[in-house]
């Protein structure tokens, strides 16, 4: 790649007491790509995301975004710089409507005057128009996944970290979600780093994959090389077979 990386993680380590949840992880994500981060349960994927987005302060290592050192920066500042994320577990604003939820994100770049224009645009993009006045607590999982993506998109990020956005979706929902991801990547040139257990999704949308196991990077490469890599197969067989549809 001739571009400098959008996201660069250098020797990231996170300890929880004696547990090395993330151990000396280095990875790069380049502008415009969809990169995947996979690994068996407990490999440290979510913890890596938490350390990148400022939710937890890493024990050591550095995180650079667009060349800026963002290690240990507060999440809202990182968001202001252009990086947002979604969660593996649904973190909806339960007492807010879909529109209000998206609006919270939209205020990251908009003021009261132009915020509704942004909200309308995102709601249309994520196909949520019929549900805009519904309370999040009344919505089902598949729709909440889209609401969470919409809320993150509303912040106008340059890069998004998506944590298991495919989990719990059925085949049709998954396919439409994959289309949406490709669309935001192509049309809005948002760089994506996705954590995923659903192999169909990883193989289908990612151009490059980083594999974590027990907190360490065990492989990096394109989908084909990853799916035939003996270390990766062993890591998965030793724990849990990747979910294939």
């Amino acid at each position: 790649m001739n571009h400098p990386p959008k996201l660069q993680v250098n020797n990231l380590t996170v300890n929880f007491g004696n547990l090395m949840a993330v151990n000396n992880v280095s990875l790069e994500v380049y502008p415009g790509e969809i990169a995947g981060l996979i690994g068996p349960n407990g490999a440290g994927k979510t913890t890596t995301f938490n350390a990148i987005t400022g939710l937890i302060i890493p024990s050591s290592g550095k995180v650079f975004f667009n060349g800026h050192d963002i290690t240990g920066m507060l999440p809202h500042k990182i968001c202001r710089l252009g990086m947002s994320r979604t969660f593996q577990v649904i973190k909806a604003f339960a007492h807010m409507t879909v529109e209000e939820t998206v609006r919270v994100g939209a205020y990251n770049r908009c003021n009261e005057k132009n915020v509704y224009k942004k909200v309308d645009q995102i709601i249309k993009l994520c196909d949520l128009a019929d549900l805009r006045d519904k309370l999040c607590s009344d919505l089902g999982l598949a729709i909440l996944r889209r609401v969470e993506l919409a809320r993150a998109l509303a912040t106008e990020p340059e890069m998004l970290l998506l944590d298991e956005t495919g989990a719990g979706l059925n085949q049709t929902e998954l396919l439409s979600f994959m289309d949406l991801l490709r669309k935001i990547n192509m049309e809005y040139s948002i760089t994506l780093l996705v954590v995923e257990h659903v192999m169909q999704m990883v193989m289908g949308v990612c151009s490059r994959i980083v594999v974590l196991d027990s907190g360490e990077v065990i492989a990096t490469g394109n989908p084909e090389s990853i799916s035939t890599n003996p270390k990766v197969i062993e890591a998965y067989l030793g724990k849990r077979v990747p979910q294939c549809y």
């Binding site: 604003f93 807010m96 939820t101 994100g105 009261e112």
Partner: protein
Amino acid sequence: MLDMTVQSIITGLMMGVIYALITLGISIVFGVLNVVNFAHGDFVMFSMYLSYMIGTALVWDAVQTPLITIPVLFIFGFIVYYLIIDRTLRQMYVVQLAVTVGLQIFMRSMALIIWKAQPRALQYSIIQGNIQIGPYTILTSRLVAAIISLIFIAGIAWFLNKSWAGSAMRAASDDLDMASLVGVNYRRTYALTFAIGSALTAVAGGLLMSFQQTDPVGGIRFGFLSWCVLALAGLGSIPGLIISGMIVGVAETVTITFFDPRSRLLVIYGIFILVLWFKPRGLFGRK
């Protein structure tokens, strides 16, 4: 007898709206910061004294004094937030309890030092007189106070639903981490919430001074009232808050009318306990 009952209910309903306004302050702070401000009633007491001082010095009517006390209490709220609340957020619950109870004692002692123990009251309000409907009397000062309270409650409801800062407050209340990740500055949001909660006591204080006196221990009553109304209302429903305020207001005036005025705190405490027993999330609380 019936007349007296109806009369006390009318008065209680109007008082109830002011109680709802007072409770709105403690409610948004609890909802957003998850901190119970035990000094909230003393903020009301303090606001009443400020209104008294301003009303006396400028020869203003009590209902005008919030023009000055609102900004003062807003800034006071900011300072209190950054000086003590901010530092206790990630601490144990007892630490938060200790600092706000400490603040309560501090404010009460300051009031005693500055204004001595004697109660203070302002001249009769310009909005005197009363409206007579059949055998019932509605004191204009109370009616005006209730209407102004409603206007402020509606204003806050609008602010929470429609404004940038209000959205941030509600988002932070639902999920702080997620709110931060989509750009909400939690400290600023918390400070603003606390300052607004504090500023609301300035409105209530001015309104109360148009027909009541204030004394340094008056904060206990307002604190108590607001916990009781909050327990009844639960979090998140503004109409529920107003109805709960009215229930407490009516219970109070009925007690004053038919029993001993001194037992009114007991009745309020009784309601509080009953709610905790039977409806721990309040009558109108969200899930």
